[in-house]
Symmetry: C2
C-alpha cells in the first residue's frame, strides 16, 4: 500500500466516480457509464444470463456455473474449508488434490450451501413504513425486524426460494433477494495445496503472482447433477491486454459510505481489536502446528486465514492511519453537511447521531466481541451450543420477534449448519478454546464476575479441556435430539457447553440488543443522508458491499510499481521460475505432478492476470467475463493497493487478480489428465 496515493481516494460513491469504479446492483446496472467509458452496451438479457450463472458460496465466496450439468468453478481457497473436511480412505485432499474420474466419485460436501440470485424486489417502503414517528430506537428496531421477518417469511412460503431482505446504503434501501438454493454440492476437482495456494502467505496480495487457485464443484438436485439453464461458456483464449471485462460476484463488505466518526471507530477500536486477535491466534496456532504433521494438517487453513485477515487489516489500518485521508474525509463530510443544512436538516443532523451511536457501541464493544460475538469461546462447539440454547428460547416467540437467524425464513440454512457432520477434532478445539479463554481473562479481567463464573474456578487450559472433553455436541445426532427436544430438553441438559452457552446468554443478548439499537440509530441516520444525497446528486450510484450479487467492470491492464512495469498476465513458465528463485522452499515448492509435467507444458500459457475491476473480499471465485459474456478467468485476490479500495476506489495501482482460463485448461489437460472436465467445458462451450 502506498500511503501517498491514498490522499487521492474518493470518499464515497458519487456521481463523479471514475470510469471503472463500482460494485453495481444487478437491478440498477451502470449501462450508461459503461457505454460512455467503453462503448459497450450491456443488455437486460446479457445481465440476466450472467446473474443466473453466478453462484454465491455461503461460506463467504463466489463462483459460476460452467456447464449445463451443474459444474461450478470457484477458487481453491473458497473450496478449501470444505475440501479439508473431506476424506477418501484417509487421503489428505488438501495435500494431494482430487479428481473425480466419474460422477460416482464426486464427493458430497457437508453443510455447503450455494445460492443463485433469481430476482430482486424493492421492499423499502414496507420496511420503513413499519417504523412510526415517535418510536424510540428500541421500538423502531423491533418494528423493523418484525417487518423484515414477515417479508422474508411470506416470500419463502410463497416461492420456496431463500428470501433475504438486504439493507443497502446502510439503511436507505431494502431489497428482497430471492435465491435458488443448492445444498447437495459435490467436489469434482481440486489441485494440490502446493498449486492452489502456491506462494502462500508471502505472495498473498502481491503481484506478479503464479497460483492455480481454482477448483470445481457440481450442484446436484434430487441426487442427480442439476440441469442448468444459465452457465458461462468457457473461452479458452481468455482476455487480451486492454480488453474490457466484467466481474459478477459477491463482495462482502466495503466502508466507503462510513462517516468520519465511524472510520475513527474502525481505526481506533474495531480494527485494532481484530488485529490483535488475529495475530494472537496466528502465533498460537503456528506454534501448535509446528509440533507435528497432524497438527499442521489440521491447522494450516486456519493459520492461512488469520494471516490473510491480518494482512487485510494491516493495509486498512495503514489507510486509516494516514491523516491526509482522514482529513479529506472530514472535509468532504463538512461540505455535505453544509449543503444539507438548508433543505435537509435531518441529514445534516444525522452525522452527530451516528457519532453518538458509535460512542455507545464502542463503550460496550469489548464485552460484545467477547460474549455475543463469541471471541471468548474459540471452538466450533460453542456456536452449536448457542444455536441450540437460542433456538429453544426463540421457538416460543412470534416469528417477527425472534432473533433474525432463528426466524422461519432462515431455518433451512440454520439446520443445514447445525446438523452438519463435518468432523470436529477435540484436541484442536481444546487448544483454541484455551487461548480464547485466556484472551477473555486478559480483556475483561480475571476478577470480572461473569468471567469468574465462566472459568468456574479453573485456569484456561483445565477449563477448556473439561468443556471440550465432556461435551457431546460433536455428535450431530445428539444435537438433533436436543434440537427436537426443544426448550425442555435444552434446559434440562447438563452438557457443559450448553451450560456455558446458557450462562453467558443473558448478558450476550443484552449486549446484542444494545448494538441493534445503535444499528437502528445508524440506519435511520444513513437513510436521511442517502435521501439527501439522492436529492442533491441523483441516484446514479451503488451502495457499499453487502455480500450480495454485484457487477464490476474494468480493463485487463498491467501497471508500474516503483518504476517496474508489471505485465497484464503471468505465465506457467513464470510459476517454475518463481519456485526456483525461492529454492522450492514451502510455500514455493511444486507438486510432483508439476515437476514431472514440465516438459509437456506450454510455458507461454497465461496463468494469472490483473484487471481494474472494483472488487473486495467475497469476490473470490467470481467469474470474469468478456463482452460476449464468455468466461475468461476467475477472480482470486486483490493486490495490496486494491485492499484499501475498501474505503474508496481509486484509479491507481489497485488491481483485481484472476486465474486465466488458458492456464486452467492447460493444467487440466497436461498436468491433471482431467479429460472429462475438459470435455465438459469444451462441450458446453460449443453446444451442438
Amino acid at each position: 500500500m502506498h500511503p501517498l496515493r491514498l490522499a487521492g481516494i474518493l470518499l464515497a460513491a458519487s456521481a463523479a466516480a471514475p470510469a471503472d469504479e463500482g460494485m453495481w446492483l444487478f437491478n440498477k446496472p451502470p449501462v450508461r457509464r459503461i457505454k460512455e467509458a467503453h462503448g459497450f452496451e450491456i443488455t437486460p438479457a446479457w445481465l440476466d444470463h450472467l446473474q443466473k450463472a453466478s453462484v454465491r458460496f455461503n461460506n463467504g465466496g463466489s463462483g459460476s456455473f460452467v456447464s449445463a450439468a451443474g459444474l461450478i468453478l470457484t477458487n481453491h481457497h473458497v473450496g478449501a474449508g470444505v475440501i479439508q473436511k473431506l476424506r477418501v480412505q484417509e487421503r489428505d485432499l488438501m495435500k494431494d488434490g482430487f479428481l473425480a474420474k466419474t460422477r460416482d466419485e464426486e464427493l458430497k460436501c457437508p453443510d455447503l450451501e450455494l445460492n443463485i440470485l433469481i430476482d430482486i424486489e424493492d421492499v423499502t417502503a414496507r420496511v420503513t413504513d413499519a417504523v412510526k414517528e415517535g418510536m424510540s430506537a428500541e421500538q423502531a428496531a423491533a418494528a423493523r425486524r418484525a417487518a423484515i421477518a414477515e417479508i422474508e417469511r411470506s416470500s419463502f412460503s410463497e416461492t420456496g426460494l431463500r428470501s433475504d431482505v438486504v439493507t443497502l446504503y446502510r439503511g436507505a434501501l431494502f431489497h428482497l433477494h430471492r435465491y435458488k438454493r443448492y445444498t447437495d454440492v459435490r467436489l469434482v476437482f481440486s489441485p494440490e495445496k502446493q498449486a492452489g495456494f502456491f506462494g502462500g502467505d508471502p505472495d498473498n496480495f502481491e503481484y506478479p503472482r503464479h497460483t492455480l487457485d481454482f477448483c470445481f464443484f457440481r450442484a446436484y438436485e434430487d441426487g442427480k447433477p442439476a440441469a442448468i439453464g444459465h452457465f458461462l461458456t468457457w473461452n479458452p483464449k481468455g482476455a487480451a491486454e486492454g480488453e474490457l471485462v466484467f466481474v459478477s460476484g459477491h463482495p462482502g463488505r466495503t466502508n466507503r459510505s462510513l462517516t468520519h466518526a465511524q472510520l475513527v471507530s474502525l481505526r481506533d477500536v474495531s480494527l485494532p481489536f481484530s488485529y490483535e486477535r488475529a495475530a494472537r491466534t496466528e502465533a498460537m496456532l503456528g506454534s501448535w502446528a509446528s509440533r507435528n504433521r497432524d497438527n499442521r494438517r489440521l491447522a494450516e487453513l486456519s493459520i492461512f486465514s488469520f494471516q490473510n485477515a491480518r494482512k487485510v487489516m494491516q493495509a486498512n489500518l495503514g489507510a486509516l492511519l494516514d491523516p491526509a485521508f482522514m482529513e479529506r474525509k472530514a472535509r468532504n463530510e463538512d461540505r455535505l453537511r453544509k449543503a444539507f443544512e438548508s433543505g435537509h436538516p435531518e441529514a445534516a443532523a444525522a452525522y452527530d447521531r451516528i457519532a453518538a451511536a458509535e460512542e455507545e457501541s464502542n463503550a460496550h464493544r469489548l464485552r460484545t466481541e467477547m460474549l455475543e460475538e463469541g471471541r471468548a469461546f474459540a471452538t466450533a462447539l460453542f456456536p452449536i451450543a448457542r444455536t441450540l440454547v437460542r433456538a429453544a428460547d426463540e421457538e416460543e416467540k412470534a416469528d417477527g420477534e425472534r432473533l433474525r437467524e432463528y426466524q422461519a425464513a432462515g431455518r433451512v440454512s440454520l439446520e443445514l449448519q447445525l446438523f452438519s457432520d463435518k468432523p470436529i477434532f477435540k484436541h484442536q478445539e481444546i487448544v483454541t478454546l484455551t487461548d480464547s479463554l485466556a484472551f477473555l481473562c486478559a480483556k475483561l479481567g480475571a476478577d470480572d464476575p461473569l468471567v469468574r463464573r465462566i472459568m468456574d474456578g479453573k485456569p484456561p487450559e483445565k477449563r477448556a479441556t473439561e468443556l471440550v472433553a465432556r461435551t457431546n455436541l460433536d455428535d450431530p445426532e445428539y444435537r438433533r435430539e436436543l434440537y427436537l427436544g426443544g426448550k425442555d430438553a435444552v434446559s434440562a441438559s447438563s452438557d457443559p457447553m450448553i451450560v456455558l452457552a446458557r450462562l453467558v446468554d443473558e448478558e450476550a443478548r443484552a449486549l446484542r440488543a444494545r448494538q441493534e439499537t445503535c444499528d437502528e440509530i445508524r440506519n435511520q441516520a444513513h437513510q436521511a443522508i442517502a435521501a439527501a444525497r439522492f436529492a442533491l446528486e441523483g441516484d446514479d450510484s451503488y451502495p457499499d458491499a453487502t455480500f450480495t450479487l454485484r457487477l464490476s467492470y474494468g480493463l485487463v491492464k498491467g501497471y508500474l510499481n516503483h518504476g517496474e512495469k508489471l505485465p497484464a498476465h503471468t505465465t506457467l513458465g513464470g510459476l517454475y521460475e518463481r519456485s526456483e528463485a525461492q529454492e522450492a522452499t514451502p510455500p514455493f515448492d511444486l507438486p510432483e505432478r508439476w515437476i514431472r509435467g514440465r516438459d509437456a507444458i506450454d510455458t507461454d500459457t497465461p496463468l494469472n492476470f490483473v484487471c481494474t475491476a472494483d472488487i473486495t473480499g467475497g469476490n473470490s471465485g467470481s467469474p470474469v467475463v468478456n463482452r460476449a459474456g464468455e468466461l475468461v478467468g476467475v477472480i482470486f485476490d486483490s493486490n495490496l493497493d486494491g485492499i484499501v479500495h475498501s474505503f474508496g476506489y481509486f484509479e491507481g495501482n489497485g488491481r483485481a487478480l484472476a486465474v486465466h482460463t488458458a492456464g486452467m485448461l492447460e493444467a487440466l489437460k497436461i498436468v491433471y489428465d482431467a479429460g472429462e472436465i475438459v470435455e465438459e467445458l469444451t462441450f458446453s462451450s460449443n453446444p451442438e
Copy 2:
C-alpha cells in the same frame, strides 16, 4: 503446565522450603540445608572456586570458565545473538556452525560484556540511611538513587571493578557486587543451528529433549587469552541418576515474594500487554521472514525469542489464572498480615501501600511501556538515539542525580553498547518500526496529541521508512561524534531519530519518574515486610532472582508425566530417532555432519539430562557441577512445569534441563573434529 499441581506451590521462600528449593546468595549459602538433605557439606573454598569460575553474560545468560586459558562454556542460544552478527566471508555461522582451528581464527564479538563476581558487600545501611524520616516518596527515591550512585562510583574508582548495587528482597537488602569485566570475547566453537536449536519452538520447554545447545567463547585480556585461576574441571562421565548436583548461574527474575496485588497486576495488566506484543511481533516477523531466505536468516532469532517469551508468559498466565493459586496466595498474605499486626504494624500496613502503588503504576503503564520502555519504537536505532539525547542531558547533572544508566560507574558498559559495530539492517528495522508505530496508534489512539506529533502526519509505514532511511545512527562513528559533541551537538542534530527521541523525552522521563516513585513506595513496603518476616521466621531464606549469581542444587532425576516414566537423561541415539519421527522436517532436520557421522557415534552417549535444581530464565548456560565441583553439564532450559516455579518452587514435575558433558564431548570428537577443544578440556581436567 499442569494446573492441578499449582495449588500446591509454596508462595514464597520460607523456612519451610522443601529440600531442593532456592536460588541462594553466594554470601549466604544453604550449608545446613544441603547437609541435612543430602549429607554433603559445601565449604567456603568450594564455593569461592565455583563463584569465580562462573560467568555472567550481560546479554542475559550464564556460563563458566572451563580452561586455564579463558575458554568459556555457555549455551548456543545464549551465544546466538552474537553469533548471528558475526561474519566470516559471508558464511552464515548460525546455519553452518563455526570452529576456530587456531586461536587466530577465533572471532571477536561486538559489544559482548562478561562479568565475574569477585566479591559482595552488604551496603544496606548506607542505602537506607540516606532515606530520612518524613521524606516524600519522590525525595526518598532521589536520596536512595544518590546514595547508590555514590557507593558504585567510589567502589569503581577505588577498585576498577564493575560495581553494581543490587536490590534484594525487593528493597530489604542492598548488596554491592564487584565484577571483573571482560569485553574482548571471541567465538571458539558453535554448532549448526539445526543442532544447537534442534527441535526449535515445538520442543522448547518440553522433555525428553535432544539438543546440542552449547558453544564456546574465550575471554581475552590485552589481546591474549585470559589466564584464569578458577575454572571448572570437565568430568567426561557427567552425573548419574540420583546424584546431587549444583547449579551456579544468574537467574533473571522470579516473582515469589510479590504481594497478591502485585500478582493481580501481573495477571491482568503487565503479562497480557507483553503477551499481546510478543504474539503480534511473532506473527508479523514470521510473515516477513517467509518472503525469502535473507529475511528468514535475519529474523529467525528474533522470532524464536518471541516464541520463547510467549510460551513462558502463557505458562505464567496459566498459573496466575488458577483461582486456587491466587486464593492460597491471598490467604497466606492474610495470615502474615495478622501475625504482623501486634509487633510490626508497619509491615501489616505495607500491603495496602503496595496495592496503592500498583494502582498508580497501572494507571500509567500503557504510556510508560510505549514511550519510556520504547515499545512504540521497535528498532535498534531508537535506543541509540535516546542514549545520545539522554547522555547529553545527564552529563550536565551531578552523578547522583543522573538516571542510573548514565552514572559514572556504568559508563564503560554504556559506551560498549553505544559504539558497538554490530550490523543494523535498515530494511528489517523499517518493518519492525512500522509495526510498532501502528501498535502505538492502536494503544494510545491516533488522535492523541503526542502520537500525532510522533507520526508527523504520516501513516506508520511511511513514517518508519523516513525515520530509518534518513538516520545516520547506524554508523558507530557518527554516534561517537554526537556523543563526544555533547549537549550542543545533540541539540543541534536534525537526525530524524534524534529528533524523535527528543520529542518523546519529556513525557517519557515524567513517566519514568512516576514509576520510580512507585518503586520507592514498594521498596519501603517490602523492606518493612521482609524485616518483620526475618524477625518472625528467621532469615534462612533467599531473595527473588535479580540476575545476580545464585547457587541452586538438586538431584538428577526423571519423572512421571501422565503415567509415562521420563528418563533422567536422553541419548545421542534419541536425537536421530526424534528427527526420524518428525520426518526430518525443520526444526527436526539434522545437519549434514550429523548424518554422515551417525555410524561413528556411540548412540548410547547421554545427551540431555534433568535435575530438580531451582532455576529460571537467565540460568541458561549455567554450569552444573558435582560434589567435587567438576563440570557435569550446562543448563539450557526448564520444562513447562518448571516455568511456573517463577511463582514458587514446588517439588513436582518441574525440572532444569542440561546438556550432558559426555554428549558434548562425543559431538566435539566425532562430529566436529574439534580435537583442539577436546585437548584443552582434557588437559584442564588432568593438570600435570
